[in-house]
């Protein structure tokens, strides 16, 4: 369970990223966060693992109270909270397996990381994660040689190798074409259901949010302006969040979903 109590984020340049956010995200929930760019979606997701430190309020992940000032505590927190990025963020020059093994860092002694000499059980965990996203045969290929959708799956495998309680995904499908976007979202949804991992996903495609999430959170100007089950997130409600009428850009084409 993740609890936000009166969370504020003020960036060093004075920009207010989040103001007075109160949220409770239950264990095993699949939450989509929607909002226009600059609404604070990324900030919200990055406060959970301390990539963006919050400036006031109380944040609890599981039974741990997040302390953005303590690097050691943050590392321990991050080992249980995996993150997926829009641009995949793989080291493209090394193998897929080595990218997935980055997810084992928190449980690997530094000297093993330095030598690249991982324990057999860590490698086994990495292979299992690759199996779960269906690209175990690519394990010894360079990450750069994979397509965008495959790279994002490697990133998901990297997160799974952490054996996480929470997965944060920051626009995970925004740089993928519509059919691939649906495939990756289906993978995420399946993994969330199989393993019961709390999953928080930023999106700007409304239909993706509606077809895969349990719950939708709408954000505007750093504030949560809508929070409810996916059935309640109707066009009218989302237009309220966006403060404009919906356009074709807000959805991924329907025929792609069939693919």
């Amino acid at each position: 369970m993740i609890t936000f109590e009166n969370i504020d984020v003020v960036y060093p340049n004075g920009f207010k990223g989040l103001s007075n956010v109160n949220l409770q995200i239950n264990k095993g929930e699949f939450v989509a966060i929607v909002g226009l760019s600059g609404a604070g979606k990324s900030t919200l997701i990055r406060t959970v693992n301390g990539l963006v430190p919050f400036t006031s309020g109380t944040l609890t992940v599981g039974d741990v109270v997040v302390d953005p000032r303590s690097k050691a505590k943050l590392r321990r927190l991050r080992s249980r909270v995996g993150m997926i990025f829009q641009s995949f963020n793989l080291v493209t020059r090394v193998s897929v397996l080595n990218n997935v093994l980055v997810g084992r860092s928190a449980d690997t002694p530094t000297w093993r990381s330095l030598l690249g000499w991982y324990r057999a059980e860590d490698k086994e965990l990495a292979f299992q994660s690759l199996e779960r996203v269906g690209i175990v045969d690519k394990a010894y290929m360079r990450a750069a040689s994979l397509s965008g959708g495959q790279q994002q799956r490697v990133a998901i495998a990297r997160v799974l190798a952490q054996d996480p309680e929470v997965i944060l995904a920051d626009e995970p499908v925004a740089s993928l074409d519509p059919p691939t976007a649906h495939k990756v979202m289906r993978d995420l949804r399946r993994i969330q259901q199989e393993l019961g991992i709390t999953t928080i996903v930023n999106m700007h495609h409304l239909d993706l949010a509606r077809s895969y999430a349990d719950r939708v959170i709408g954000m505007r100007a750093g504030e949560v302006v809508f929070d409810g089950p996916v059935e309640e997130a109707t066009d009218e409600v989302i237009e309220q969040v966006y403060q404009r009428s919906l356009t074709a850009e807000d959805i991924v084409t329907a025929e792609a979903a069939q693919e």
Partner: protein, 343 residues
């Protein structure tokens, strides 16, 4: 007809074509000012000049005279300005041209740079040049031990220097260092290391621990090359780290990796091609530098060359120089091959 051939279009009357824009004409007034600057520079050249060469201009009724070198400078500047104006070059670029000529004239005049000395001292140059052009080929093989020392010095200094340089680079770049203070401090130390040239380091180490006379030449040479290599590798690698893709770094952070793990897993693979390439470059520099280091009492091929130079055995010096060129070319080809395989 819709389509027209190129020839037809060329033949079509030009009247219909729109007026083509021309480059804007630079301000004549500024150009006049630049000519004034050239004139001012001419007067300054005249005042500071040391040579008494005089240009005589007979006009029939009177003979004008002018200082030779400043007049040449003035003519060059005015011609350059005229060409710039004709080519409609912007005033800033024209100013740069004039400034370049003034600077090089001033710098050359300060140290009395002239190629005229060479023909004047030809009697001195000629026998040595002939000796250089007729190298003593049989000598090359007799200094193989010195070559071995030079190459060994370069290998050891490159390997250790690159290792230390990489660690320093990791602490020097704000992307990979634990905090800003560390990065600033390491950068400052690195600047100091780099501000002393390789020959400077060699002099220091020869003074501290002794040179060839004490049988410690290679030792001092390795230490000197080591410092030189650390400076270069740390500087270039840390700048490469500055520009790595921040995405994988953030991903490693988000997975709970500590600083060392993050630098090893997310940064090192990204900078590795650059780092290896810097290492090969530094190795090549080391081979070349050892020729100069011999002069200050460090072992290797440089000391053999210095010895022959002092004995006026120019045929032998020429043989060493040619071997140096060959070795440097071989090293260069080898490193190019490695780089191509790597990138």
């Amino acid at each position: 007809m819709v389509t027209t051939s190129t020839a037809e279009r060329r033949a079509a009357p030009q009247a219909a074509a729109t007026v083509r824009p021309e480059p804007p004409r630079p301000s004549g007034l500024v150009y006049l000012g630049l000519a004034g600057l050239a004139l001012l520079a001419f007067i300054v050249f005249w005042v500071i000049q040391e040579s008494g060469d005089v240009l005589l201009i007979p006009l029939g009724f009177v003979t004008l005279w002018a200082p030779l070198n400043p007049v040449i400078g003035l003519v060059v500047m005015l011609v350059a300005l005229a060409v710039c104006f004709k080519a409609r070059i912007g005033t800033m670029a024209a100013f740069g041209t004039v400034a370049f000529i003034i600077m090089s004239y001033w710098a050359g005049a300060t140290v009395g740079f002239t190629l005229l000395e060479i023909p004047e001292r030809w009697s001195n140059v000629e026998p040595r040049l002939i000796a250089f052009l007729d190298p003593n080929w049989s000598y090359i093989w007799t200094v193989r031990d010195q070559w071995l020392i030079t190459i060994s010095m370069a290998v050891v200094a490159t390997l250790i220097g690159c290792a230390i340089g990489l660690v320093l680079a990791m602490y020097a770049s704000p992307v990979s260092s634990p905090n800003k203070g560390t990065s600033q401090a390491i950068k400052a130390v690195n600047s100091v290391i780099r501000s002393i040239p390789d020959v400077g380091w060699a002099l220091l180490f020869v003074a501290f621990i002794g040179g060839t006379a004490h049988g410690l030449g290679p030792m001092a040479g390795i230490l000197a090359l080591l410092m030189f290599n650390i400076g270069i590798v740390a500087k270039l690698t840390s700048e490469t780290i500055d520009s790595v893709n921040p995405g994988p770094v953030e991903a490693a952070d988000a997975s709970g990796a500590n600083l060392t793990q993050r630098n090893r897993l997310a940064i090192l693979p990204q900078v590795l091609p650059g780092f290896v390439s810097y290492g090969l470059y530094v190795f090549e520099l080391n081979i070349r530098a050892s020729a100069a280091l011999g002069i200050v009492g460090v072992g290797g091929i440089g000391s053999a060359m210095m010895l022959q130079l002092n004995r006026f055995q120019f045929e032998n010096v020429a043989a060493i120089l040619i071997a140096l060129i060959v070795v440097v070319l071989l090293v260069d080809m080898f490193s190019m091959y490695i780089r191509r395989k790597l990138l």
